[in-house]
């Protein structure tokens, strides 16, 4: 069967080659923003590089990696793609990536990339397979007007956070129903970022056996109590995803939530000066937040690797990187674009920078995608709904990482 697939993919790969001598780079990316500047970037690149054609495909985020892994195994992978660090171990196991060290060494834009990004994106074998293209760090959004009204200060610790959330959960129009909840918790996919802020900062706790320690279980219990006892999350929290938490925050259904600079323009458009941001609170003696990385890479099956490299390095170069990030709403990775960056209000960029010292990537393990996609959401939802305990949830996660 594999032979048939390879033969078919070979034919598919040959077809454009026969039609034209130019090389085509198939590039996969994921943009949520409907104002997509990709065609401008492609046009600019193609003008500067005659002979290379870019076939850029916007693949929906929810099934981005499902599609990518299946395409790789099916022999129909793109030549270059947008990639996150958590996928690196799996992609290396699949031998799907091309090392970029030589190309990076000879690239004139290398010194313009922000200082620590090449360190963060280094693989376990010491090589570089990723070229950074954007980054963010998650922080706490809060409604400055509601905090002021209740005489509250932005929370510095988990205890202050809980107190504020309880006070902010209230019936504002006197009809006996709660109109505003203290915190918009993301119980669906990617909500580990919220849970992590309350759990993984605790002393000695990480995504391994230490999760089953007293401190680890206390973190999960803290989240469960906020929902079950304090009732400071909207009742829909177990299923809520990105759209729901941002929608609820914009409409005043919630007074705090955790996300990154990518949503700040949208929130400012809806709330103006009423929205502000601070780093996530310190919980159990430490802070932890998600470093949201995004890079590009060349896949090992690329027919013209040099062309693919030219394209991805173009996206991480001065000016182009700014245009790219104006669409994704994240932050540029080049020093020159960062210096002149004016796409976000200053207070959100500052909150991002203040969060960098304790911003972490998820572990470089083959188990990480399963943790993100299924193990964390199902266990968190069951815990929130009282079907399992905090200890059981943490055990399930620790077991997943121990198996790999």
């Amino acid at each position: 069967m594999k032979r048939t697939i390879s033969a078919l993919s070979l034919l598919a790969g040959l077809a454009p080659g026969i039609a034209s001598a130019d090389s085509t780079v198939r590039f996969w990316y994921h943009f949520d923003n409907p104002e997509n500047p990709m065609s401008d970037l492609v046009a600019k690149f193609e003008e500067a590089n005659p002979g290379i054609r870019i076939d850029a495909q916007n693949v929906p985020w929810n099934s981005y990696y499902d599609n990518l892994y299946t395409a790789i195994v099916g022999g129909n992978a793109p030549d270059a793609a947008m990639l996150k660090m958590f996928a690196l171990p799996r992609l290396l196991e699949m031998e799907a990536l091309e090392p970029l060290d030589e190309m990076i060494a000879g690239w004139e834009g290398r010194d313009d990339i922000l200082d620590n990004l090449f360190d963060l994106t280094e693989a376990e074998d010491g090589k570089h397979y990723y070229l950074p293209v954007q980054y963010v760090a998650l922080y706490l959004y809060y409604r400055a007007d509601m905090f002021e009204e209740l005489g509250l200060a932005p929370p510095e610790t988990c205890e202050e956070f809980r107190e504020a959330a309880i006070k902010l959960t209230r019936d504002t129009n006197g009809d006996g129903k709660i109109d505003t909840y203290g915190f918009g918790f993301r119980g669906g996919k990617s909500g580990h970022e919220h849970w992590g802020a309350f759990t993984l900062g605790r002393e000695g706790v990480a995504l391994d056996d230490s999760l089953t320690s007293e401190a680890g279980v206390a973190g999960t219990q803290f989240v469960m109590d906020l929902f079950q006892k304090d009732k400071v999350f909207p009742p829909s929290a177990p299923n809520d995803g990105f759209q729901e938490i941002i929608g609820a925050f914009k409409t005043g259904v919630t007074a705090m939530t955790i996300h990154h600079v990518g949503s700040s323009n949208d929130l400012v458009a809806a709330l103006g000066d009423k929205v502000a941001a601070v780093p996530v609170p310190e919980c159990g003696g430490g802070r932890w937040t998600t470093f949201g990385d995004e890079s590009t890479g060349v896949l090992s099956n690329a027919s013209d690797k040099e062309a693919a490299w030219k394209w991805i390095s173009f996206l991480s170069s001065e000016g182009n990187n700014a245009l790219f990030n104006s669409a994704t709403g994240q932050l540029p990775v080049t020093k020159s674009d960062s210096a002149s960056w004016d796409q976000h209000e200053k207070r959100f960029v500052e909150a991002t920078q203040a969060s960098l010292p304790f911003a972490h990537l998820l572990p470089a393990s083959s188990a990480t995608p399963e943790f993100v996609n299924t193990v964390w959401p199902t266990n968190m939802q069951r815990a929130l709904n009282g079907e399992i305990t905090a200890a059981q949830m943490n055990e399930a996660i620790a077991k997943l990482f121990a198996e790999e």
Partner: protein, 308 residues
Amino acid sequence: MTSVPVPDRDEIAPARRARLWRQVLPLALLSPAVLVTLAIVFFPMVQTAWMSLHDYVLFRPKKFDWVGLKHYSAILQDEVFWISLRHTVLWIAITVPAQALLGLATALLLNQKFPWRPVARALIIIPWALPSVVIALMWAWIYDSNYGVLNDLLLRVGILEQSIPWLANPDTALYAIILTLTWQGFPFFAVMILAGLQSIPRSYYEAASLDGASSLRQFWHITLPGISGVLFTAILLRTIWVANSMDVIFVMTGGGPGYATYTLPLYAFLEARTNLDFGYGSALAMTFTLLLLGIVILYLKRSAKAVH
């Protein structure tokens, strides 16, 4: 003695050829369809069965180790399998009868004479004609606990005190999706049953009413027997479709909260596609196929009878 005229050899050959041609032609015409079915249905099925006997995780494509029935014995110990099986049984046992009853009622109404009847018959098909993803997104908004129209209506009329997160509450999530699927599938029954109703001669009803049979008796003794064939086939077909349908669940809750809306096909899909464990995912799919086989055989027998 009279002699029987014997056709000479040259005359026999074309007759035989024609007969042979008549036998071969249908096979020749059918073979492309059979070949395509073999390639896109049968071959993947055999492949799934083969994969279910191996450890095969997609991100380790070189590792394809024979494990025999290991996955199948793991399934029996798997809590999520039993939860999913229970949900699948509920899913089929509520959705199909609900669709059938609603479809029957709609068909009986549409069989009456009233102005704009053709328009009503055309409109009723809309839920069936809409893509599942559109339906799932639409109903997810209807059920939304902050902005959903369902909570808003129930709060306004005073049935609810607080809005209910229909899809985030494990006690209501599965039933909320069942209602969605019932809405989506009942037009199929309505159209099938309506066709059945139209094939019952009017004279039966005229004769029955002359004999003084009430409407209920007419329904019981004429209408029901008249549509029983259609109803039976529709229920069998729909059972197989509903059992396998997971797109609406996938879009509305993705199986959550927790495992509250996991059904077996969804579980197999998530294992294979999201967790990339094709070995275990295939074993789940095979187990479900075996469980469903009884209904499939019943349907095939019935189709065979219809052909004869």
